[in-house]
Symmetry: D4
Subunit: 218 residues, 8 copies
């Protein structure tokens, strides 16, 4: 990757030693943020001991070294219910580490539509909205109708039975009657944040095409 | 079936002659409404010619003989979009033929939430609400949060791709974050109307347990 | 929620401390019943110690504070087999806590149809019937043919192989040849009870439209 | 195949000429019944013109040459509803052509359980029962509980939406709470009749092990 | 159930005490065999201590009281591979306890077709054949072509990936090109044995219609 | 919708007359572009005759009135193969009508990776990339690795058998190893264009927050 | 593609004119065989008129220009039943056009295992075997056990109900108990022939690594 | 199996004692390699103690006795990402034990296409390529376009959500736009190696038809 671009290690299936080795190499080879996702706290401690200078965010299960300074691109992360919290935390923490300005709007599922409407202002203030919802995932459609900004929908595996471990929310978001929604993989707070980072990149570049890029793959 | 209870013939796969024969027998054997569902107009004409006294509602593809007088139980039939119309028409026409007082609220999908909220009064005035929605079926959750009355959700096969011919809306409605919704089969406006009829029956009986039943299977 | 309406906390994924905090807040904010579902006994004990005045029903894994007084709306909860017991227990306990008059009819699966027929009287005495059945879920169709009242079918994850963890029973109930059945999510005794509560609400309101509501979301 | 055993040609995808050729060859090579299944009437006429001595049963879409004399093994073919008729007709016609003594019991779906019970005598008189049912397929479970004889369940593609073109009835029959049911492919009246023929073979052989077989593959 | 008919308790989800209670009641109420399936050895010991006179077959995880005397109806249980052993053991043990004469033919999967052909004699000697196979389940088709007797196919959950925990074998057996196969649920050695028992019943009754039944549900 | 925002009518299931009526109303009520999607040429002619001022793009099956002037936001629409053409045409035509500057890069599927690499320059010049691919949808991953800009992946129903009418490409794109891709519904060139329009909106607003919006839902 | 390598045009969705244009370009640009698959006879005639020198094989729906001379690599194409014929024809015709020496072995499905065994010699004489089978696809496992050569299994969409349009055969072949089978897409006679062509290439190259390649993608 | 052919024991569900017994028998009965797959290290130690002369490869979870001498047929095993390592290790170790000359090319997923292209030389040097990839499995298509040799694609269960435990990669590989790919079961490094062994066999035989076979099933 180019200088300044973020590098992300996927934790599951790797030992603390393996993660530490990869992270060290990435820190040496590049100058941008380095992240490790889906890290349990015990592993995190061992990795941080081996590779100093990092920080662990337990709710997001995220390790971060050299977070990017917070820029001007504003992202709202919105959740339907309490159980969607961990996925939203990952989205928010990854986005923050990549330099996006993150706001979190919690527990505004469509079964209580007035709570969502009360947040219209905060939603419309964002340059992009990440909607995190499980069960039937209806929140994405409602938000898609409220804002003109890009909406990145993250289905979660919250729910049981017919929720099919997130597949129902995924299919529902893809079939949304709100036009122009986009969708990422089930429980992928990480994917949503990376998509938002691409948006921030596009907006910055569009504003000043000749300026250095804020991080990416060029 | 008991005297006064409705009888319903399912049209597909039967000739006009077969339908006429069954309908005639049911009219003779009983005293309540007799319906035939999913009837194309050419077939309807032939059946009406053979069994006088009936009426055809083309939008609902429904034939009705001896409709029940309209009672006091109020049902609102709500649709998400234009394409959900035929299923809603079937629900409304069957419910009307069974003596329910029907109101139709059209095109209030959650991507335009303010249109739905503007109809809150009409929705809350109903004794039961039938929600007809395809694609992601999110309307059921929003309505379920707005009214305290029973909600019968009808997923429709409207949409393409990930909508999976109604399966996505079905799964979404069953996984709804709005508590106490109930669901019927895909495109089954008929099933929803029959469920509403059972509700009307229960309400009437509950009000005056010893009174004669308004139609049912006792 | 409006004064007097029930509030329900979903237990899974929350600590005893978190549950206690939410329940305390709900008890303070409102005057109706407060429930917590899917609570294991160890957690229940800790929550009850922190929030006095509640009661735990182990078979239903339910915690209840301020149960509603039992009213006149009668619900029969019917099961196909022994393994459907826990889901039926949840349905019965939640319905009871919301003020419905609950009867339980056990182990009347259709493979022994005479046992079911012997219970026809108790089934017909109810204002609504909740049918709890796994495997092929055939009991819902049989009950739907025996009673004129609303039937709420709850598929359970009982069975193996082709039972597909409840999906088969779910699909079967939705495809039932008995008209007007409604269905809730797999294993959702809670959902069925909430649906019955909506029915009781509709019946009460219908009987005396101007009277205060027995609990709901108005 | 051995002398006297039945031979069956599968019609779809073959021209009348091709069917006539295969049937002629089979008639010459063997001495038992020769059948052709799923034949539309126009094709049937052409084949019968080319290969004399056969008969066409339109409801079953079956062509038969040299039907076996009717023996003592009694099979009841039971249907849930009118739409299951064609599949039942195929089962009955194939079984009859193979020498089984066939009774048909119609329209006894579980939503009207008393109609089924009224037929208990005819069902118990059979040596084997073929149950033909679509939608939720619940009839198989009810019959399985009423008779001690072998039950061969045939799911049909009757129904819409959640009936999934017969898959729901198939899964339901395989998950039945009635022990010892067996299941054949969706809409395979042919398969059920062949399974019944195997049963008749086993019963005859068991009764007099040294006697010549009534038709089979030995 | 009628005097002499078998009674079977399904173990999973029940305590040793509950199983013992049900078994005792069944032994008292009836005179035929009583079985409990899917019982782990520790539970079995406790149940046997509480209800004397029973025996435990660990490979089949089966408890049996009052097994039926072995009769003349011969069943061959055939397996494709070593891993199909436990399901075959359940089929064989249940069939044996119900009075069938059982032979087991092991490890004759179609990838080594000559091993299967070498067993043709034993297969043809049986009155019925139970085929137990996982992965692609091809053994059922091969056996169906070798014998004229009834074939009951039991798909197993053996295999990984595309084997889909038995669903692939199930679908394959239902789609078999060998005519007249019948299929039971995945891993249901029990179901296959009960189906064989129904066959034995039919054969015995057919041989001497007025004789007392060998066990069933009449 | 707000003044200047686009309005889109979904054609299927509507007559030319109905489409003309809706389009006329939208043209009168608002000042932005009005589109109708999935319109066959015969219908298009009739609608254009009734509502003058529109234009029809046959490859995209799109009708457009009052297209927006082309702005500075550049979108590349990339296809894997010839058969993906119609979906790409819809994406390109809708995006163009909404004022985006569109480039189309054709037939660069990953089986000929050098053709894709030869287009790297055109891809990197775009502010956002829409990838249209059926079959296994691998092109989205390859493009995601080549550009830092937002990637909107559109799975198409091109392919047969295991391609499952677009479901395979959909699942593959959602599971992509290239981070930050987003996905829309199968064959939804429309959805991808609307998502790109949201991006353009965000970029424009980000560049000059106080300027009037280029079209949206505010 | 390199000089001498085959080029293949996929016909569906293209007009005769479009096909003729592509074929002409490929004939001019390269020196190897040029094929067009899935071409109906009317289209074929038009294309042949426009691009002389080609030949049409109707059973395979294949157009061929400049077929490769037949080499020494021998491929056996084996089918389970009559209905698998068209897919086998495509496999055989494409393989032949690419220079492979093709033998076809017909109708040796496992339900008649002795017919298959009688062909063992022809099967073992081949350098590679293509197995074409629908329904349960069991033939692949049986052939895999009979030969040591590479086996390419082609599932077909032959069958109904549980055959799921070829998905069952596909899953079964992938789960085969015969080790080292490989599988291509449903109905893809073309894919199997191309895979065999890759094998011939590898064998030829392995035999004389420095010799010119017999056609491929280098 | 014939003298010299490999024998492979499937470990899961077998005790160390059972594995040792089967391996000993196979070593005695034959002269070729004997393998045991999917063996955990503790079990491996016990088996090696009981059956001397074997070796354990922990990354591949493989036990090998009498490995074949390495021949001239070259196989490249290519992986998309780190998590695909264990499946690739099984493929490489089994192939090596069967006498193939194995090269491993790691971590060349299509999201970083230049890393893959940099390995083109090593890939083209191989007689056959095994591609191991999870998530969307796109690597198989890219490799299929780069080499003319046979490609055996192994989907892995790496990924989450829409990756559906390997089903997505499986379907994607079967739907690949690169012609002539073949596919084996999910996570079946073993199956891919056995398929490669069949290829080596074919190539050797083709080169010198009368020479003794390098191992197989003849
Ligand atoms: N057992 C249950 N199944 C489904 N939903 C439930 C259950 N128990 C409570 N709920 C719903 O969960 C929501 C509360 O979720 P939470 O805020 O996480 O406690 C409320 O809308 C309840 O109606
Ligand atoms: N309706 C049917 N459904 C399934 N299989 C059938 C049917 N009719 C005939 N067959 C079987 O199809 C095979 C004959 O196929 P064919 O050679 O194509 O005529 C025989 O094995 C028959 O047992
Ligand atoms: N091709 C399309 N695919 C999906 N949605 C569409 C398409 N064209 C229009 N729409 C949406 O359909 C809705 C209009 O539907 P209707 O009222 O039926 O015309 C609007 O929300 C549009 O955004
Ligand atoms: N990892 C594996 N995956 C699939 N099949 C295997 C594997 N290892 C061995 N086998 C096959 O399993 C069979 C032996 O099974 P078993 O008799 O249970 O040891 C042989 O046909 C092997 O080819
Ligand atoms: Mg939600
Ligand atoms: Mg909708
Ligand atoms: Mg049940
Ligand atoms: Mg039925
Ligand atoms: Mg097997
Ligand atoms: Mg593609
Ligand atoms: Mg076949
Ligand atoms: Mg991958």
């Amino acid at each position: 990757a180019r200088q300044g671009a973020p590098e992300v290690v996927y934790g599951p299936g790797k030992t603390a030693g393996e993660i530490a080795a990869v992270v060290s190499a990435l820190l040496a080879r590049n100058s941008g943020p380095v992240l490790a996702t889906r890290i349990e706290s015990a592993v995190a401690e061992a990795v941080l001991a081996a590779v100093p200078g990092g920080a662990y965010e337990p709710a997001a299960r995220l390790l971060v070294w050299r977070p990017a300074p917070t820029g001007s691109f504003a992202v709202a992360v919105v959740t339907a219910g309490t159980s969607d919290g961990p996925v939203a935390a990952e989205a928010a923490a990854v986005a923050g580490a990549l330099g996006l300005a993150v706001t979190v709007v919690r527990d505004v599922g469509v079964a209580g539509i007035h709570r969502l409407l009360a947040e219209t202002g905060r939603l419309r203030a964002a340059d992009a909205v990440i909607v995190v919802a499980g069960m039937e995932g209806a929140l994405a459609s409602a938000v898609g109708g409220l804002v003109a900004a890009p909406v990145i929908a993250v289905p979660t595996s919250v729910g049981y039975g017919a929720a099919l471990e997130g597949v129902t929310a995924l299919l529902a978001m893809l079939s949304s009657c709100a036009a122009g929604l986009t969708v990422v993989n089930i429980d992928s707070g990480f994917g949503a944040a990376m998509a938002a980072h691409r948006l921030a990149h596009a907006a910055a570049r569009h504003a000043s095409p000749s300026a250095p890029e804020p991080g990416g793959r060029r």
